[in-house]
């Protein structure tokens, strides 16, 4: 295995240019376990831990920007995040256990593109944008545009996730995150649901819903959102929303749960969110 540890982002792009196939290593909580279990390492690894430019949290005109190397512990303890987007701090506090949260990064949680990742559903319903940086340019896209398929994203080999931008919602908007796992610590979600709801009098003005572990990637539930928008949350609307959800969900059975369980649990989470 060849190992590179660029000291800053300019140096990183130089190494990256030479080795577009090298694997980028950040907190290591997924990749190190994976390499160990597969008994094989990639041919080339670029550690990005020294890129201090990627570790920051700042607020500017109602948007909180979080650098890709920010750890889950930093997210769960940060004052700006706890005040403006507290559900993200909460979701980060549910990941793994203290040592894992001290290591894992938000950029890694997004880049790894696991369907069971904890932060993406919450970032999706906050309507977050991802900032990708290459040697010569920055590009910004919505997080829901980033995922292509199972562990597959639209990032190009000359790009790195630089940061994620999260707009701060109004204090009155309802934001929730529910995670179903076997136990609280260390558990990988069987299913998860994040929801955002803004009402105009009785009717739903804006709703965003996102789910984990029910599709090949973390997804926005656009069909359900479309159905609910503009309607009052009556019992029949909620029941129809749940039917719509089940029509579009195609979860799989795997080591953590079954298709049937996932569907029932997701329906339960959506009910909980809309009824509360």
């Amino acid at each position: 295995m060849e190992f590179f540890s660029p000291k800053n982002i300019d140096e990183f792009f130089k190494v990256r240019e030479r080795y577009p196939d090298a694997v980028l290593l950040a907190g290591g909580t997924d990749l190190m376990a994976q390499w160990h279990n597969n008994r094989s390492n990639p041919e080339r690894v670029i550690s990005i831990s020294n890129l201090k430019e990627l570790s920051f949290i700042k607020e500017d005109r109602g948007i909180i920007e979080i650098g890709a190397l920010t750890t889950h512990t930093e997210i769960s303890e940060n004052k700006l995040i706890k005040k403006g987007i507290p559900v993200l701090a909460y979701a980060a506090s549910l990941i793994g256990a203290p040592a894992i949260r001290n290591m894992g990064t938000i950029g890694g949680n997004i880049a790894n593109a696991s369907p069971a990742a904890d932060l993406p559903p919450v970032l999706l319903i906050y309507d977050s944008s991802l900032v990708l940086r290459s040697k010569t340019q920055l590009r910004e896209l919505k997080l829901y545009e980033f995922y292509k398929g199972y562990k597959n994203t639209v990032i190009k080999s000359d790009e790195i996730i630089y940061s994620i931008k999260v707009p701060i919602p109004d204090a009155v908007d309802k934001v929730e995150f529910y995670k179903v796992g076997t136990r609280q610590a260390q558990s990988i979600a069987k299913v998860s649901l994040a929801g955002f709801l803004k009402k105009e009098k009785k009717e739903v003005e804006v709703v965003r819903l996102a789910a984990g572990s029910v599709a090949p990637v973390p997804i926005r539930l656009f069909e359900v959102e479309k159905y609910i928008t503009g309607k009052p949350l009556t019992r029949s609307v909620i029941a129809d929303a749940c039917d719509t959800l089940l029509r579009y969900l195609k979860p799989i059975s795997d080591v953590r749960s079954t298709e049937e369980y996932r569907k029932i649990a997701m329906k339960g989470l959506l009910l909980k969110f809309l009824q509360k």
Binding site: F3, T29, M32, A33, V45, S47, N102, M103
Partner: protein, 154 residues
């Protein structure tokens, strides 16, 4: 080969290892610090917990080469030489918080980290901070008691 100068348990130490080695491999291999245990090797059990630059981490999930020169590492071997560590060690003995002992180094490191951040943690905080460390013998009761004793509460 990778060459690094780390401060391990307070002592500046020169070490050489190959690119694919994890921190746990370097600790237990060339450094002969075998107090740190490897349980699952995938970040689930906490047996390999160490403190890197003041932060609790899992040595099985750290590629050793990613730790720069000057990195400070505290392992179970170094805990005894700190006042807090000594207190924790005594508390574990008093509470009889050890059976087979395999999880103990990780438990002690997690406790050290907890008590260096929070002076008098309540039971919920203790449980949550040790939630990444599995013990299959004690049922945790005596371990939580040990942490209470180390805080001076009991």
């Amino acid at each position: 080969m990778i060459k690094r100068r780390w401060k391990i348990n307070g002592k500046i130490t020169q070490v050489e290892f190959s690119e694919e080695m994890r921190l746990i491999d370097v600790l237990r291999g060339p450094l002969d610090l075998v107090g740190t245990k490897e349980g699952c090797g995938e970040g689930e059990c906490g047996a390999c917990s160490v403190i890197v630059d003041g932060t609790l981490k899992l040595s099985c999930l750290i590629l050793a080469a990613t730790l720069n020169d000057g990195t400070e590492i505290l392992t179970i071997e170094g805990v005894e030489s700190t006042p807090l560590g000594k207190r924790i060690q005594k508390a574990f003995i008093t509470a009889n918080a050890v059976q087979c002992g395999f999880c103990t180094p990780g438990m002690v490191m997690a406790t050290y980290y907890l008590l260096s951040k929070v002076k008098k943690p309540d039971r919920e905080t203790i449980k949550s901070m040790l939630s990444g460390n599995l013990c299959r013998c004690t049922g945790y009761k005596s371990i939580f008691e040990a942490v209470d004793i180390a805080t001076g509460r009991r």
